[in-house]
């Protein structure tokens, strides 16, 4: 009797909370589960068809796969980055300032971060800073070709193969070969380029390489007045398939190799002249979009992991670390054998929180992935959102799936919380 009497006030105090949880958590979950067994309009029952649909639709399977990648990679990397920074930040002066800077991305919403990184990852090196760096480094080692994308004019006895351009017939000493090229942007020609001269006879093998394009009245294969010769084109002379001589064209596009005699030569402009410039990587294309987005996620969340881990590491008794040091342990050993084991609870907490958080990643994908890569980049939450406007049944099934996937992490956290209360 006494028990009941005492539990009445408790029930009254609990009522608002129960009502709130019921209306805002339990009822929606129940309704979602109910809908997940119904059709697109939410009226006709369809049994488990929505769930079958979820596992058989290629697009959703792709989303499931991406979610798996996210869960396996993102929380671990974020935690590792946080741990690393937390440990290193202890060593520097003004550690607090460093922490604040690293924590700052947390203050930015994922959507804003996504929009920023959409620019950072832009494919064009003119706009995207990542590709600008990649291309800069690449071009420092492999200089770009002088005439990317240029091609031989058709019907002038030249054949293309393997990116190179060469004469279709053999030439003999004393000839001057005409090598007309097309597809050259006038503004991008080297400043040293001078008008190509009429082919002049001479000893050995000579030739003219020029831009054979005049807007009006240009004759194909003929050096019209004003058409520029192409300097610094790499020329190879072959005989029976073997290179016998090499040279580069002069400022007016001419070259001459007087030492060559006889006949049976083939003149070739090497592929190195025409290689397309290295344009960096398509970060937001189907192949790299998920890793690129995980990069953004790490940038945003590493600060969170760092702060929690810093707090955890502050709780490690100094004596323990000193004892280890006296025993001759190095920094790395201390980190692995002392710090990390002692901070295990904090690290596990960070990992789990991030896992649940990663499961519902959505805004980042919506903002960062271009429309054309939304399929390859998709995740469950995004598919749920997309489905919800046309097919409430399927969207609900996806929602239930997300809930089920998130439950282990949530339950573990609850369990830990209870244990620490005791």
């Amino acid at each position: 009797m006494a028990r009941t009497a005492r539990s009445w006030p408790a029930a009254w105090f609990l009522a608002p909370a129960v009502l709130l949880v019921g209306a805002l958590v339990l009822y929606p979950i129940g309704q979602t589960v109910w809908w997940s067994f119904h059709d697109a309009t939410g009226r006709g029952a369809v049994g488990g068809a929505n769930y079958a649909d979820v596992v058989t639709t290629p697009r959703i399977r792709q989303a499931l796969f991406n979610n798996a990648v996210w869960i396996l990679v993102a929380p671990n990397l974020v935690t590792a980055a946080g741990l690393l920074v937390a440990v290193l930040a202890q060593r520097v002066r003004r550690a607090a300032a460093v922490r604040v800077v690293l924590f700052m991305p947390m203050a930015i919403s994922l959507v804003s971060a996504g929009i920023t990184f959409r620019l950072v990852y832009d494919e064009s090196p003119d706009r995207g800073v990542v590709n600008a760096v990649v291309v800069g480094v690449h071009d420092a080692f492999v200089p770009p070709a002088p005439y990317p994308g240029a091609r031989a004019r058709d019907g002038q006895g030249l054949v293309a193969g393997g990116g190179a351009v060469q004469t279709g017939r053999t030439v003999a000493a004393g000839e001057t070969v005409l090598l007309p090229l097309l597809g050259l942007e006038p503004d991008r020609l080297p400043p040293t380029a001078r008008p190509a001269p009429a082919p002049a006879p001479g000893a050995g093998i000579g030739g003219v390489v020029w831009s054979d394009f005049t807007a009006a009245g240009g004759r194909p294969g003929v050096i019209d007045p004003g058409e520029l010769g192409l300097p610094q084109v790499e020329v190879e002379i072959l005989r029976d398939g073997a290179v016998v001589a090499r040279t580069r064209t002069a400022g007016d596009g001419t070259f001459r190799l007087p030492q060559l005699t006889g006949q049976g030569y083939v003149v070739r402009l090497t592929a190195a002249n025409f290689t397309e410039p290295f344009a960096g990587l398509t970060w937001l294309g189907p192949a790299l979009v998920t890793p690129a987005m995980i990069g953004v996620y790490i940038w945003v969340w590493a600060g969170f992991a760092m702060v929690l881990i810093s707090v955890g590491s502050a709780a490690i008794p100094k004596e323990t670390v000193e004892a280890a040091r006296v025993d001759g342990a190095g920094d790395w050993q201390i980190l692995r054998k002392v710090t990390v084991p002692l901070m295990r609870p904090v690290i596990v907490l960070v990992l789990l929180t991030l896992t649940v958080n990663v499961l519902k990643v959505f805004d980042l994908v919506l903002v960062v992935a271009p429309e054309s890569a939304q399929g390859p980049a998709s995740v469950l939450a995004l598919e749920m959102w997309r489905s919800s406007f046309g097919d409430i049944g399927r969207a609900s099934a996806l929602g239930v799936l997300l809930l089920v996937l998130a439950l282990p992490g949530v339950l573990f956290n609850v369990h830990r919380l209870r244990r620490s209360e005791r």
Binding site: E123, G149, R151, G183, P186, R188, A215, P370, S372, Q374
Partner: protein
């Protein structure tokens, strides 16, 4: 003079419900009533449209509030409809969506003076676009001409070419541009809808208006040889070396605004850009090329150079309530006067027959508007007439399949057509 009378007529139409008696002076029949209007327009367009609505409010006393749904207008409108508090009027750009609301009874047919205003000021063609069955639901307040290709005058001069009239010429011009060192065309493949516009224009030219109508009405399967031929022509153009800025892979990373910058930006690369009249706003914003001077357009080329067939788009005002004040607003939106307020500020085409073309701010806009009125054949954007899951929204199957085709333009067009047919079967089956 004619214009003035038309304006007066429009005013009358708007005020008919309250009685249009000049002697009575400015009556305010709807004082104290309020209206909610939704549309896709944001930024400058929103400001201009709000000006139009304010003029209605000044005249009738009604308070009109505009809400912008941006690209998610469909979500906004369907949400409000489902919640039982629909907007009074929504400016909907897709006939497919209008048909859906008409079928469910959420949209209200236009009646009375509003219907009369539409009949007076719009050609039968545009009335049909706004009708479902034989009932009128939509007033095409804004129209778009989607059959123009923009080009950079300096690139054409440097290559010594003139605007092409036939599809073969288009290929020749593109090749000549490439020979001169300029990429031929910028294609915003990162967005899906420009690719559907490519398909529609090419299909209208190659297969003709009848086939277009039948495809839109789902009487022609997507596996039809005419569709396959169109896809083949499209794939061939996309796959040609240096025809697309950045190649097909680069095009897939190019958004709409980027594509405009690729042609008309500070560092122009490509010579041509296929997109509708609405590109002008973006070109003006970039500021390097002037519309009509450095940035010009030609009509989408045809098979034999005859021209005159246009793919059009537009935003239609659709009523979701049938209060008198709603219908008065519909009548007002059908009036040349309302159109003139927005047309005067640029970036806007109207198909209102009563509108005096002199109000357009520049010759290019005027010419674009007149081409819409003069066209012998006008067809509405096909993808907008299909169910939203197929042709009308992010992630829609037609958008996605065409993007996949752009990613691999060498794909057998018959395979692409078969995929489109499968997707259409699902989308129409579920609708």
């Amino acid at each position: 003079m004619r214009a003035a009378r038309a304006v007066a007529a429009g005013l009358c139409a708007a005020l008919l419900l309250a009685g249009c008696d000049a002697a009575e002076g400015p009556a305010k029949p709807f004082a104290g009533q309020s209206l909610d209007v939704a549309g896709t327009w944001t930024g400058a367009e929103q400001a201009n449209f709000e000006r139009v609505l304010r003029a209605f409010g000044d005249r009738t006393g009604a308070r009109v509030r505009y809400t912008s749904g941006g690209g998610d207008l469909g979500v906004l409108v369907s949400g409000q409809v489902a919640a039982g508090v629909p907007f009074d009027v929504a400016m909907i750009p897709q006939p497919g969506v209008i048909a859906r609301y008409a079928a469910s009874g959420a949209a209200k047919p236009i009646t009375g003076s509003a219907a009369e205003a539409v009949r007076t000021h719009f050609s039968p063609q545009w009335q049909r676009f706004g009708s479902v069955g034989d009932r009128l639901y939509g007033v095409y307040f804004k129209a778009a001409n989607k059959s123009v290709i923009w080009y950079r005058g300096d690139a054409f001069t440097a290559a010594g070419v003139t605007p092409p009239a036939t599809l073969d010429d288009l290929t020749t011009v593109s090749q000549t541009l490439v020979d001169a060192g300029t990429t031929a065309m910028a294609v915003p493949g990162a967005d899906g809808w420009p690719l559907t516009d490519w398909f529609e224009n090419l299909f209208l030219q190659l297969a003709g208006a009848d086939a277009y109508d039948r495809l839109a009405a789902r009487q022609l399967p997507w596996t039809d040889p005419a569709v396959v031929d169109t896809l083949r022509a499209m794939g061939r153009y996309w796959a040609a070396p240096r025809f697309l800025q950045g190649g097909p892979a680069g095009a897939l990373q190019t958004t709409f605004t980027r594509s405009v910058a690729d042609v008309f930006g500070q560092r122009p690369r490509a010579g041509m850009l296929y997109e509708g009249d609405f590109v002008t706003t973006e070109i003006a914003r970039l500021g390097r090329y002037r519309i009509g001077d450095g940035a010009r357009y030609f009509a989408w080329p045809s098979v034999d150079g005859t021209g005159g067939a246009i793919v059009a788009g537009g935003d239609a005002a659709v009523a979701f309530t049938d209060r008198p004040v709603t219908m008065a607003l519909m009548a007002y939106l059908a009036s040349p006067e309302a159109a003139a307020i927005m047309a005067r500020r640029g970036g806007f085409l109207s198909v209102n027959l009563g509108l005096d073309a002199a109000v357009y701010p520049d010759a290019t806009t005027r010419a674009l508007a007149e081409s819409l009125q003069r066209a012998t054949t006008v067809r509405f954007d096909l993808s907008d007439m299909t169910p939203a899951g197929f042709g009308g929204g992010n992630g829609a199957s037609m958008w996605r399949l065409l993007q996949e085709f752009l990613a691999a333009p060498g794909t057998d067009p018959a395979t692409v057509a078969a995929r489109l047919e499968t997707a259409a079967a699902i989308a129409y089956g579920g609708a």
